[in-house]
């Protein structure tokens, strides 16, 4: 189940940017997208999770570039969400090897896929709003948003450090 979901996610996040790039005649982006997607797909097909990190990073960057220059930014949000899901499923599949008993495996798998679907929907819905609503922000508000972002970065890094210390 996880494998199928993973391959579908990689396939979609390869095809969708390619179609978007082709529609705007950005052939270089099309080739990069197809190449990276195909490589990621091959690696995952063989059961190796090595391509997950470069695959996710490249698809996210590609979706950002196409969101700026392409005609369908909402599709690019979907592509970013699919890349995130593919990366998550690739890691999950590596962990799933340890689930020896079938009933435990099924239960863990079902829980994970349900949660991932829910999180993707919850991430995609506000993105629809964000793309469809256009707000003009002046420079000072932008500075405020920048400041809040910096604080959030600071808080997030602190959290990561605390979690790491706890784990040690």
């Amino acid at each position: 189940m996880t494998r199928i979901a993973l391959l579908v996610c990689i396939g979609l996040c390869t095809i969708l940017p390619a179609v978007a790039a082709a529609s705007t005649a950005q052939w270089v982006l099309l080739l990069i997208g197809l190449g990276m997607g195909a490589a990621w797909l091959v690696f995952e097909w063989r059961g190796s999770g090595r391509a997950a990190v470069p695959g996710m990073v490249s698809v996210t960057i590609l979706s950002a570039v196409l969101a700026i220059s392409g005609p369908a930014p909402l599709v690019m949000v979907l592509v970013a969400a699919l890349a995130l899901s593919a990366w998550d499923l690739s890691r999950f599949r590596q962990r799933l090897v340890y689930a020896a008993q079938d009933d435990m495996r099924r239960s863990v798998e079902r829980r994970h896929l349900r949660r991932l679907l829910f999180v993707n929907i919850m991430g995609f819905l506000p993105a629809i709003l964000a793309v469809s609503i256009r707000v003009r922000i002046d420079f000072y508000v932008l500075l405020l948003v920048g400041g809040v972002s910096l604080l959030a970065i600071y808080w997030m890094l602190g959290l990561v450090a605390r979690m790491a210390r706890k784990a040690d």
Binding site: V53, M56, V57, T60, S63, A64, A67, I68, P73, L74, M76, V77, A80, A81, L84, W87, D88, R91, F92, R95, L96, Y98, A99, A100, Q101, M104, R105, S107, V108, R111, H112, R115, L116, F118, V119, N120, M122, G123, F124, P126, A127, A130, V131, R134, V135, I137, L142, V145, G146, S149, I153, M156, L157, L159, V160, M163, A164, K166, A167
Partner: protein
């Protein structure tokens, strides 16, 4: 944990930064799935991971080749753990023959999980102190790695092979009755000598035939007293005398022979000690009975082939460890350098018996099995030459009064012992 969280966080802030710099809301929107993903992981991360682990093993002291069933029970006394990865590390050498030693499952509060597996191990001592547990939410972002104490030690002793009583004749015996003729007159079964009659001697012991020749004197038969003896077993664990063919080692056969000899000699009531001479000197002081047998088996379970420049030849054998004029049984394939040491031991009054696991037959046996015979005449000549050299070595040792038993390890030890006895 750090690495898994790092990538989405870096991508998230990269997208936010790009969105702010480019003033494009679409790019900012790309960050939303990431924000929701990290927030969900953080929300479901377990606050308190409190796991109680218990381990049960079918046995901790087993003979070689016996499967040991291990059951690990984990009880969750804390919050819900969506994903629990339990890894029970196996020390090198242990073979997993059934079940799995890792487990991935979810654990509700108060829930219990069981990990069952069966292992098999070669001779030796093995210990596991901790079990590695990784507990976290289902996305694997916020995980906690724990090491839970579940100590377990497994000692694998050599398998005991039944051997008949080994006839030894040390110059000196101990005070208790046993099976060994003590070269002293007294109460026994075998005739020993005749002495003058002393009042109180039972009538049936009077030697009437001699008395008939001496009309005014009586003579009494004395019988050889049978007693127990001190026996020192020396196991040669020097790496230079060990031979390895494939995965098999000659030393393993020597260990098995030592265990069989110890069991047989202790069974006869003798006081037996053990000295393992190799990388280091390991000893078990002489003692009697079943407890001593366990002590010797424990020492044999730990015995390893080793190299030590100071102990390269048997010249540094701590002979004071064995009572003077006792029986010494050396279990060693022997080398030419060992002859003077054996001579010295005999000169000091020890009765020495050498059990030689034959390295030549051990090595050639495998070769012959593979090739089905000597197809190359040079190989055959080489074999005959080495065989002659070895026969000469053993002959030299026999000449100084040492009982030598050349043991082909493919044959049972009991048969080889009887061969020596017949000689």
């Amino acid at each position: 944990m750090k690495n898994h969280l790092l990538l989405p966080v870096v991508l998230l802030f990269g997208l936010l930064l790009l969105g702010l710099v480019s003033l494009r809301g679409e790019v900012l929107a790309l960050a939303l799935p990431l924000i929701v993903y990290i927030s969900a992981a953080l929300w479901f991360a377990p606050e308190k991971v409190d796991l109680i682990i218990r381990r049960e093993a079918s046995s901790e002291w087993v003979p070689v080749g016996t499967p040991v069933a291990v059951r690990l029970t984990v009880h969750n006394a804390g919050d819900m753990v969506e994903e629990l990865l339990l890894t029970d590390p196996l020390p090198p050498g242990l073979e997993l023959i059934e079940g799995e030693n890792t487990l991935l499952a979810s654990m509700p509060p108060g829930g219990e999980l069981e990990l069952n597996y069966t292992i098999r191990a070669p001779r030796g001592e093995y210990a596991v102190a901790h079990t590695a547990v990784t507990a976290g939410e289902t996305f694997g972002m916020f995980w906690r790695e724990l090491r839970l104490d579940a100590p377990f030690s497994l000692r694998v002793r050599p398998r005991m092979i039944g051997t008949r009583s080994i006839p030894i004749r040390p110059p000196q015996t101990r005070g208790f009755s046993g099976p060994i003729p003590s070269r002293q007159g007294g109460a026994g079964v075998d005739f020993f000598s005749v002495r003058e009659y002393q009042s109180g001697d039972p009538q049936h012991r009077i030697n009437w035939r001699i008395a008939a020749r001496h009309p005014y004197e009586l003579y009494t038969n004395t019988y050889q007293v049978e007693r127990v003896a001190d026996v020192g077993l020396i196991l040669d664990a020097r790496s230079r005398v060990d031979v390895r063919v494939g995965g098999d080692s000659l030393f393993e056969h020597a260990v098995q022979a030592t265990a069989a000899l110890a069991s047989s000699l202790l069974g006869d009531g003798n006081r037996v000690g053990l000295l393992v001479y190799g990388g280091m000197i390991q000893n078990v002081f002489p003692g009697y009975g079943k407890i001593q047998r366990e002590r010797i088996l424990k020492a044999l379970a730990q015995a390893r082939v080793g190299h030590n420049y100071a102990l390269e030849n048997l010249g540094y054998l701590p002979t004071r460890f064995f009572p003077s004029r006792s029986q010494i049984v050396l279990i060693s394939p022997l080398t030419i350098d060992d002859i003077p040491v054996l001579v010295q031991l005999c000169a000091r009054g020890y009765a020495v018996m050498v059990i030689c696991p034959d390295p030549l037959d051990f090595e050639v046996g495998e070769y012959l099995q593979d090739k089905g015979g000597f197809h190359d005449s040079r190989a055959e000549y080489a074999y005959r030459l080495v065989r002659a050299e070895r026969s000469f070595l053993l002959q030299q040792i026999r000449r100084v009064g040492v009982q030598v038993m050349n043991w082909n390890v493919d044959e049972p030890l009991a048969g080889a012992v009887q061969e020596v006895v017949r000689r």
